[in-house]
């Protein structure tokens, strides 16, 4: 075997190994993003599923708060499992608005605040919020890792061959970034 052939084989072997290494790394990062996205969806669904319980519990105490109750009931319309990211974002915004209004109104109902079932629901909602926040942070970390790998050399070459595109992180909406104005919540 000529020396030129050996050199060519070594180079080809090295390139092949590098390709496999980079390819596997990219697939692993893409899967991490999907896993994190799945975690966000699960946390989101858990929170969504608590709404009927919340409405059922507060209904008996807040009969005069029809508008607020309607807002809460509307949150449960549609099937969350079929929503895309955009729909989830929109729902999230509606949920946050409704909950802000709800939390302020609750202050006027000491009996409701003392209700064991309501206290338990509040705990569950808080838990869901914390888990959702953690899932979103995990998603963003996975997306950052993925985006880094598809933009950095030499993995960007393999990424473009696989047609991998940048993914967007979950960001706070314009409304979430603003300081809450209590008066607007009941509008």
């Amino acid at each position: 075997m000529s020396s030129e052939l050996i050199v060519i084989l070594v180079i080809v072997g090295f390139l092949l190994l590098a390709y496999i290494f980079i390819y596997n790394g990219l697939v692993s990062r893409k899967n991490q993003v999907e896993y994190a996205n799945g975690a966000v969806n699960v946390a989101f669904k858990n929170r969504y599923d608590l709404i009927p319980n919340l409405v059922a519990t507060v209904k008996q105490y807040m009969q005069h708060e029809r508008g607020l109750l309607e807002k809460l009931t509307e949150l449960r319309s549609g099937s969350a499992s079929q929503w895309d990211a955009k729909q989830m974002g929109e729902w999230d915004q509606r949920y946050n608005n409704a909950m802000k209004a709800f939390n302020i109104t609750v202050e006027n109902y000491p009996n409701l605040k003392a209700d064991t079932q309501f206290t338990h629901l509040q705990v569950s909602l808080n838990e869901c919020e914390a888990q959702l926040a953690a899932a979103r942070r995990t998603y963003n970390a996975a997306v950052m890792d993925y985006n880094n790998s598809i933009e950095m050399f030499p993995s960007n070459i393999v990424a473009s061959m696989l047609n991998y595109k940048r993914k967007d992180m979950i960001e706070a909406t314009q409304q979430e970034r603003q300081t809450p104005n209590v008066n607007n919540l009941f509008a």
Binding site: A39, V123, N126, A130, Q131, A134, A135, R137, T138, D145
Partner: protein
């Protein structure tokens, strides 16, 4: 560490004012101090006499045996003096100190708690924490406290764990002992439910090797789980997080907790490790001692009494800063 959030100044003053048997303890402390002083002075005088004698008695002296015997007799006399006159009084003072001050402080701050000066955490809890992966060959400890702070069940003690290294030399085996951990080991109930295992360790690789260190950590992994990056840059530089579940790790180590852990690390200026395992939080803080008696400080001085409370407050502040005493999650 600030204790303002944990105990009011009035409460601290009230606890310090009511320390039992201050007068007899102070008398005992003065006795220890006096005897220690006598021992040190005698030792200095004897050392001076010995050195002078060695200078005066030349190697060709006619009575070298007598000189050596005198040296041994003096050293033996000193040792006997120490073990008969100093050591028992000192141990008595240490026992009284723990019984009268530390036990009293702990029961005042943590009502219904349990304090055992001679006991420490068993190795099963130490291993359960996953904070140290080296097998322990020798261990010791003291000052075990178990109690409830607000609603958090907790226990802490001073531990010293070591592993042994055996070298085969020409003259046989040479055994060297290396410290794995020396400091305060603390276990507390977590305020959150979790299933996985998450550990926070000092980040030596990233601190010294930067990006390359991070790369190494990512590819070398850890027996506990995968590397999990946290958002707080300051926290990331100081610590490395491994977990069996990255979502759960971030659920436990929120941005606020990252900030607090970094804050605690800066306040303590010690090696700090934390883990979340089996719905419990384990914390290991490297330090040389806890509840150490200082015989040069008078018990009659209110400053001294506040000084001895420092260790307990420091540990409870840690629980407070990590929000472990807040039961918003219904645990």
């Amino acid at each position: 560490m600030s204790d303002s959030e944990l105990l009011s100044k009035d409460k601290i003053e009230s606890i310090c004012r009511n320390v039992p048997d201050i007068e007899p303890m102070e008398q005992l402390r003065l006795k220890v101090k006096k005897r220690t002083k006598t021992f040190i002075l005698t030792s200095i005088i004897i050392a001076a006499v010995l050195i002078s004698a060695l200078i005066l008695l030349k190697p060709d002296s006619r009575a070298p045996g007598l000189a050596v015997a005198s040296v041994f007799a003096l050293i033996l006399g000193l040792l006997i003096f120490y073990f008969v006159a100093v050591s028992p009084v000192l141990s008595k003072l240490k026992t009284k100190f723990k019984e009268n001050i530390i036990k009293y402080y702990i029961s005042s701050i943590l009502p219904g708690s349990h304090y055992e000066p001679e006991k420490y955490h068993n190795l099963s809890e130490y291993y359960e924490s996953l904070l140290f992966m080296i097998d322990v060959d020798r261990h010791s400890g003291e000052n075990y406290v178990k109690g409830v702070f607000d609603k958090t069940e907790l226990s802490f003690s001073f531990m010293h764990t070591e592993y042994k290294q055996v070298e085969h030399t020409k003259n046989g085996q040479k055994v060297t002992w290396h410290t794995i951990f020396k400091g305060v080991f603390l276990c507390a109930d977590s305020n959150k439910n979790f299933k996985g295992k998450t550990i926070i360790l000092p980040d030596t690789a990233e601190k010294y090797l930067g990006g390359f260190g991070k790369w190494l950590q990512r590819h070398s992994g850890n027996t506990v789980g995968e590397l999990v990056y946290m958002e707080n840059v300051k926290f990331e530089k100081e610590f490395v997080v491994y977990s069996t579940d990255p979502v759960e790790a971030r659920y436990l180590i929120t941005p606020k907790i990252q900030e607090q852990i970094f804050h605690i690390k800066n306040l303590l200026k010690k090696d700090l490790r934390l883990s979340f395992v089996n719905n419990r939080v384990f914390i290991a803080i490297s330090r040389d001692d806890i509840f150490k008696l200082n015989t040069s400080l008078s018990f009659k001085n209110p400053e001294t009494l506040r000084y001895y409370m420092k260790d307990i407050i420091e540990l409870l502040t840690l629980i407070h800063l990590l929000d472990l005493n807040i039961r918003i999650w219904g645990r």
